[in-house]
Symmetry: C2
Subunit: 444 residues, 2 copies
Amino acid sequence: MTAADAPSTDAGPRAAVLVTGTEILGGWVTDRNGPWLARRLGTLGVRHVTTVAVGDRPEDLLGTLEGLAARGIDLIVTSGGLGPTEDDLTTETVAAFTGRPLALDEALEGRIWDRVLAYVRRVASTGPTDLDALRAANRKQALVPEGATVLEPIGTAPGLVVPGEHGPGRAGVPTVVVLPGPPRELRPMWTAVEEGDLLAPVLGGAVRRGESTLRLFGIHEAQLADLLRDARRDGVPLDRLEVTTCAHRGELEVVTRWDPADAAAATALEEHLASHAPRALYSRDGRGVAEHVLDLARERGWTVATAESCTGGLVAAALTDVPGSSAVVHGAVVAYDDAVKRRVLRVDGGALAEHGAVSATVARQMARGALDALRVDVAVATTGIAGPDGGTAEKPVGTVFLAVATRDGRDEVRHVSIPGDRASVRERTVTSALHLLRRVLTEP
Amino acid sequence: MTAADAPSTDAGPRAAVLVTGTEILGGWVTDRNGPWLARRLGTLGVRHVTTVAVGDRPEDLLGTLEGLAARGIDLIVTSGGLGPTEDDLTTETVAAFTGRPLALDEALEGRIWDRVLAYVRRVASTGPTDLDALRAANRKQALVPEGATVLEPIGTAPGLVVPGEHGPGRAGVPTVVVLPGPPRELRPMWTAVEEGDLLAPVLGGAVRRGESTLRLFGIHEAQLADLLRDARRDGVPLDRLEVTTCAHRGELEVVTRWDPADAAAATALEEHLASHAPRALYSRDGRGVAEHVLDLARERGWTVATAESCTGGLVAAALTDVPGSSAVVHGAVVAYDDAVKRRVLRVDGGALAEHGAVSATVARQMARGALDALRVDVAVATTGIAGPDGGTAEKPVGTVFLAVATRDGRDEVRHVSIPGDRASVRERTVTSALHLLRRVLTEP
């Protein structure tokens, strides 16, 4: 992964994300808000300097806020710590940090209480509910620092925009946007903040940036670096763009961001990659390979199945992860045991004995067997050695055969060698299988 | 998620994790090192105060190191930024931060070069390799801050332990452990540091803590909170333990840590949960439900299959994620389309018409069909509405039926209602299906 120049964000406001919660700090729960907010900040025209995780201790939260302010951060976005329990202390701490007294917003308290009552009625909790205690706990969520703007709750916790002091001679107090921890609440709330004008004072003249995501498969990172160097040589003004390249599950992702004035440079880069790596560049709109496969099949009116050995169901799982996939994906056979390969997929016992289960012949027969057993138009098969055991000198761990067969009699087989552990081999086999399927579906 | 008292870590040394890399800060790549190090620090007898992510800019890294030192952090563990390229600047920056000049370790340079050559030969890179440029770039990785201890490279990047100044009147300079970014290099390197005596000056009298993980299924967080309150009332000295409870994929995890002197308190808590929630507490050794299912089947000499609709292969994928599962798991049928349910799993067309695909009857027939089609001893089936479309008033999104059938004629069916989006419904259905399978496998 490399990041090229990011000239236009250097001068603008600087931002930090502050994720709270003992469960995230302690490594018990994966933080989904930090990465999401980072990507959103990247198009806002601010420079995202750091993401910090702290636990539920107010002194750690306060120390971090003060440290970020001391480093000249203009915008802090916090996630979590807005619940009704006593270890939810973000609002109190932000109020102390900004020197703004808290006051009860009675109308807000009423709106929160309506939401809590609706929730209590819906979940019909297991024991008797102490409504008075609940109401007292929820009152805390309606405390608002003086001068802050309330962001209407999506769950029961409201968010806040606490204005800072910005502009010449007034720097030093960052604007703090306080958001709830659940991603389904945080995301729409942040989107509303971005679309409104509450951040205008801190954003100043920062302009919203354009962003595009290109996905490539079948080339190495070094080859992509060469392509970018060639693009620069051929006159693509790369220094006007912020280009991030990143390897992910066996694919390469190129994310480009630009100031509105430089949109033509982004288009020129995209066209350069499209003309110099036409086979590798498969997605220009952010859609992943599973979505491409499903859309290509839908266009042809084709149905799809998988026959999986080493991937154990992951190819089917990747396809059916996409909403609406049931119109295209009819099913899958996971044939982990050779008896299942023979009986359900009609793989020939002689082929298994002669070539072994991990072979081009067996992969082809598995794909064709799935076509017949599940009566679909196209099927993809995987067979390989995921490890850690089962490797031999001739077929080491990572040896994988892929095949696609179509109702109209075509088939394609691939042999790939995948480095890494069991999880990597399985994951990259899924990617390779979906790309083989995509290739076949794009042929005339 | 709640964390009970953590009395014994308060007085000890304070630690921070510092994760570097534009790809992690920007949200492009999931950080796997921060959470892993957090859990390890939790048993080391230090208080882990914060995890900070920064990009590849040295001024941001330096500013963060200084900020952590100013807040009295005693131990900083960094990950990443140790490669040969020019944006890998962690060692240089840590040297500047600690005021220790860098010197070339020639013997180390030779050892790194041997590793690079071996790697170049193994991967047989696509273009001609410029060995001189490579050697010059790799020299940088052999620069060592004065007084630091080198941690032998596992890939090509060595780690470092840069000693701080600790003890009465000498505080203010934290010890910095510098580790490479790839988890397969970072983890063994950190484990070696933990097991050696390089951290003795910063750890002082901190004692290594015990840790246990208990897993429960089938009770709510509020019920677990009640169980813990009852345990305290019944004399379990909970205030001697650090207890973290966390909901995860529909299960509850209880992680307990203790000072060696308080091991009996941890045992008392475990016994309390075992006697008051015997059905819910299914794992006392950290093994997950898939491993339990596989071990239980192996003990009986039984083979396993799945028949999946809404989970689309995820149950089979979860089972086959475990190394060695191929001895137990024979295969799976993903029957997304009703025609596959009928043809491959022999689900009765009348049952489909009368009850619908999402019904107890069809779930039972799917499990029994997988038993016959794949010739195994036990099979689990899933059918449900994962959403976002397909829900009705009678069967809203999240309606799921699960069934297990055994060769010796037993079957069990469950109806569950799962809240959340498509990914949550699929994920929790997998957990519930594996637990139903586990229950049946534990019956005499």
